[in-house]
């Protein structure tokens, strides 16, 4: 951190070659490291999606949840696993609000965080998916697993339920 501020204070032309190398190579590496998803690693997401996935983290803010998105590209199809986390004072109410997007299909998932509900999404010709919203204390999280493969042999309807549970257990466990 101290080195980072030094890079900003010292005029560029006076930087030593070492400092320049630091700014050029180390800082981007640190930024990449900070881009890791706190609630699930790529290997776990890959296992859940059934193939090698790459992840991307979008930091949240006051009005926006932090998002981790993992994508696994197959031949002619894509599987995604998205996780969002936000901290909110009335987390239970927020969970209920989000769960409304399930319509009447929301079902209780036991032993995930303080509470969790899940429902199917995208169950049509463009693919299928499963969605979950849960809460750990004042943290509300969502998980969506989708596949654009309409006859996905790995993310079948049954397996989606299993895998969203597995994902939720990972995310909630890391939020505790």
């Amino acid at each position: 951190m101290a080195s980072k501020s030094k890079c900003h204070r010292v005029p560029l032309k006076r930087l030593t070659s070492v400092a320049a190398l630091f700014c050029l190579f180390i800082l981007p590496a640190l930024a990449w490291a900070e881009n890791k998803c706190s609630w699930m690693n790529e290997a776990t997401a890959s296992g859940i999606l059934g193939g090698e996935a790459t992840g991307m983290v979008t930091a949240g803010g006051a009005e926006r949840a932090t998002t981790c998105e993992f994508k696994q590209l197959g031949t002619g199809f894509m599987r995604t696993l998205s996780v969002t986390v936000e901290v909110t004072p009335d987390a239970h109410a927020r969970l209920q609000t989000i769960a409304r997007s399930c319509g009447g299909d929301a079902a209780l998932m036991k032993a995930i965080g303080n509470e969790a509900l899940f429902c199917p999404i995208l169950d049509h010709k463009d693919g299928r998916g499963e969605f979950l919203v849960g809460r750990v204390r004042d943290q509300v999280f969502t998980i969506a697993i989708k596949t654009t493969h309409k006859n996905d042999p790995i993310l079948t309807r049954e397996m989606l339920v299993v895998r969203i549970y597995t994902s939720a257990e990972q995310v909630a466990g890391n939020l505790f």
Partner: protein, 776 residues
């Protein structure tokens, strides 16, 4: 082709390994936990010799083994190539699992895929599989209660995930040994997090390293079968291979040590090492040593009572009739893999109703505790009205009544509460109600927010930091001292005294009730984990006793089966008073035992022991000699006689006493220690070393062994070993500054300070001099 099919089947089993457990957790889908039906099998009649393989079959097996070994090694190399470069070797390349003590066979991290899944085992062993799925071992890692604690350690800026290997070595050994516990983990955690201690963690252990705890085992490369030479074959095998040679399967997975308490000690004994806390060794818990010192081990001659030998497994893995098909059943029974104990929180959270019900039944069964409303004192008189139920007494309005409640840890093979006393909560609830049901006095109630009355008598402890703050969130690495520890050790008793005043307008009778309650977990810890809006967690009444006290004359009751025999009631009072340093009263209580059972040698020993503590050695000698005249081979009496002979300067008699005790109880740590001291004082250093090394084998953390061996090794020209022992002594000895941290805490918490004083009274009444008890 045949092999390809077998690999395909194996692959399907492995794929299933992370699918099925996940389904198991969904409410109402527990049927999904049931593995596929077992393959057909008819056990051969008992006594039939094992099937002999033909040369061709042996050759095929050898080929199979070679291929499996080759595959495992190739997978392991590939796994290490991925994991090792980014692994945080915080404690050096040679200590990848520190602060845990676990080690693993072979080179480098062991890939999680090397462990056959629980579902693979569950195909034939449906009974233990279904029990395990709801038990603590399968849920050792994933529960919110554990994750919250370990996440705090991981997120602590002065610690991090490398330090969590201390906890996960027992809670998630597959993750630790696989190299998952690093900042940039490359492992798919969904493969093992949900199964915690799966079948093939315990059943893959190949050696016990010591009884040091913190996962002090050597994990073998998982194997479910051995070949005809007894050599382990890694990986899964087709079921017909096991069914043809069940004896080879047993040889691979059922080591004899699995039946011993030493195996349990690997994780049910823990310390906080300097590598975790940057401070020093602090004992965390040691259910194993508590058992070893209890009557159930038959290794300690100094227990107050005796019992049949019973291991940890004897209580926590009782054999039960099978309810599901199981090829491992013996006479239709299987050792329980529920490991029933005290944890109601986990089954409550997951909705494992069977496990919850059986846990509550277990806590209430077994005659584990005895609650005795033993005696009264009135209006500040010294006269003890005891034992209640046998004594005559009179009660009147406005009487100031002191009630003596004796709680005996009668049949638990360890303390109440064992293990993490900062999280589990057991307490005595005491109430007095009048004939109309109106409450006159109540101690130990729960507030509407679920918090236990801080003035309750609890069997917990209060670990504190170096600034005297209570370690509320199980941040064990910050523990520097323990402000108080009110556990009841195995076989011992505590006396809890309550005082209340009979109302001036009282009429009729009063009911006095004392209950030992248990809650898993303490409310403020539950709040830390789940926030305050969680449902109330179960409070289990483990044992209770009520008595009716009448106004006016109270006559002896006709035989009451709820109470211990009268001599034992006095004995328990004596034990409790001894532990509370009330020596005079303790001697009086034990004297009642002697009067009631004049042939009972231990009655005299107890009087003698108390006199010794009271430094009345002449009187002690008389009692111990009386005991020896009744029972010349009493190891307990000989031990105390040895101490008295030492005091009198009779070295040979002292030596003879302790030698005899060691011969009768070779695993008595006390006798080994004292005999070592005898030899040390005789300058017989080799003999002294032998005793202290034997002591260290019993308890690797024994301070006397470290201290004396450091001197003895130096005097016998072994400076390196001497230095090592000296270092361990310095590390394990209590920090002399620790009491200050405790005092800081107690000073800031007057409401609880009284609990740190062994001899204290619970009352709402004003005492002499206008002072109030219990911080009120």
């Amino acid at each position: 082709m045949k092999n390809s099919i077998i690999f395909l089947i194996g692959g399907l089993f492995l794929a299933g390994s992370w699918i099925v457990p996940a389904l198991a957790q969904q409410g109402g889908t527990q049927d999904a936990t049931k593995p596929s039906p077992p393959p057909a099998y008819t056990p051969r009649p008992k006594g039939t010799p094992p099937v002999e393989d033909t040369p061709a079959q042996l050759e095929a097996l050898a080929k199979w083994k070679a291929k499996e070994e080759q595959m495992l090694e190739a997978d392991r190399e590939a796994h290490n190539a991925v994991v090792t470069p980014s692994y945080n070797f915080h404690y050096g390349k040679l200590s990848p699992y520190t602060p845990g003590n676990v080690t693993v066979q072979g080179n480098g991290f062991l890939q999680p895929d090397a462990y056959p899944s629980a579902e693979y085992c569950g195909t034939c062993h449906q009974e233990p599989y279904s029990q395990w799925r709801q038990a603590l071992h399968s849920n050792a890692f994933r529960t919110p209660f554990y994750r919250t604690s370990v996440n705090i350690l991981i997120r602590d800026p002065t610690r991090g995930i490398a330090f969590a290997r201390h906890c996960d070595s027992c809670h998630n050994p597959i993750g630790v040994l696989g190299g998952a516990l690093t900042e940039d983990s490359k492992l798919d955690r969904s493969k093992f997090d949900s199964d915690g201690l799966t079948c093939m963690t315990c059943h893959s252990v190949v050696a016990l390293d010591s009884t040091n705890g913190n996962a002090s085992v050597k994990m073998g490369v998982p194997s479910v079968i051995v070949d005809e030479k007894g050599e382990r074959i890694p990986g899964i095998v087709p079921f017909d291979m096991i069914l043809k040679h069940p004896e080879r399967h047993s040889q691979a997975v059922m080591h004899d040590f699995l039946h011993t308490p030493e195996f349990c000690a690997a994780c049910h004994k823990a310390n906080l090492p300097a590598t975790l806390n940057d401070y020093k060794f602090i004992r965390a818990f040691t259910a194993y040593d508590e058992w070893q010192q209890s009557k159930f081990s038959q290794r300690n001659p100094l227990t107050f009572y005796t019992a049949d030998f019973t291991t940890c497994q004897g209580c926590h893995m009782k054999r039960n009739p099978n309810t599901l098909p199981d090829y491992g059943a013996k006479n239709g029974t299987f050792a329980s893999h529920r490991w029933l104990a005290g944890n109601t929180a986990v089954p409550f959270y997951y909705g494992f109703d069977d496990q919850l019900t059986k846990t509550i039944e277990f806590l209430r069964s077994g005659n584990y505790l005895n609650v005795d409303i033993f005696a009264l004192k009135k209006n500040g008189d010294d006269e003890l009205i005891a034992p209640l139920g046998e004594a005559n007494y009179n009660l009147a309005p406005k009487d100031n009544v002191q009630v003596f409640v004796v709680v005996q840890n009668k049949n638990i093979g360890h303390s109440l509460i064992p293990e993490v006393r900062d999280l589990y909560e057991s307490w005595l609830e005491f109430s007095v109600t009048d004939a109309a049901g109106k409450e006159i006095y109540h101690s130990g109630s729960l507030a509407p927010d679920g918090i236990l009355d801080p003035r309750a008598h609890s069997f917990t402890n209060r670990p504190v930091t170096d600034t005297g703050e209570f370690v509320d969130n199980h941040k064990v690495w910050t523990i520097h001292s323990v402000a108080y520890d009110n556990t009841i050790q195995a076989g011992r008793s505590v006396l809890v005294r309550y005082q209340f005043q009979v109302p001036a307008d009282a009429m009729g009778a009063f009911t006095v009730t004392a209950k030992v309650n248990y809650r898993h977990l303490r409310q403020s810890y539950l709040n830390n984990v789940l926030g305050k809006d969680h449902p109330a967690y179960p409070v289990v009444e483990i044992a209770s006793r009520s008595r009716v006290l009448k106004l006016g004359d109270n006559k002896p009751e006709v035989g009451n089966s709820e109470d211990n025999p009268e001599w034992m009631r006095w004995n328990n009072l004596g034990i409790a008073l001894l532990d509370q340093f009330q020596y005079q009263e303790s001697v009086q209580a034990f004297s009642h035992v002697v009067k009631l059972r004049p042939e009972y040698a231990d009655g005299y020993i107890n009087v003698g022991l108390t006199d010794m503590m009271w430094e009345k050695f002449e009187s002690a000698r008389t009692s111990i000699h009386k005991a020896l005249s009744l029972d010349p081979d009493s190891a307990r009496a000989l031990y105390y006689d040895g101490l008295l002979q030492r005091r009198a300067g009779n070295t040979e008699r002292e030596s003879a006493d302790f030698s005899k005790v060691v011969k009768m109880f070779p695993q008595s740590r006390d006798a080994r220690r004292e005999l070592g001291i005898v030899y040390y004082r005789k300058h017989d250093y080799p003999a002294a070393i032998e005793q202290f090394e034997a002591l260290q084998k019993i308890d690797p953390d024994d301070l006397a062994a470290h201290y004396n061996l450091s001197i003895l090794y130096r005097r016998t020209g072994r400076p390196d070993e001497a230095a090592a022992q000296q270092g361990m002594f310095a590390d394990k000895k209590t920090d002399p500054g620790a009491p200050t941290y405790s005092l800081n805490y107690l000073h800031a918490h007057p409401e609880i300070t009284i609990e740190s004083i062994p001899w204290h009274l619970h009352t709402d009444s004003e005492l002499e001099g206008g002072q109030l008890q219990n911080g009120k």
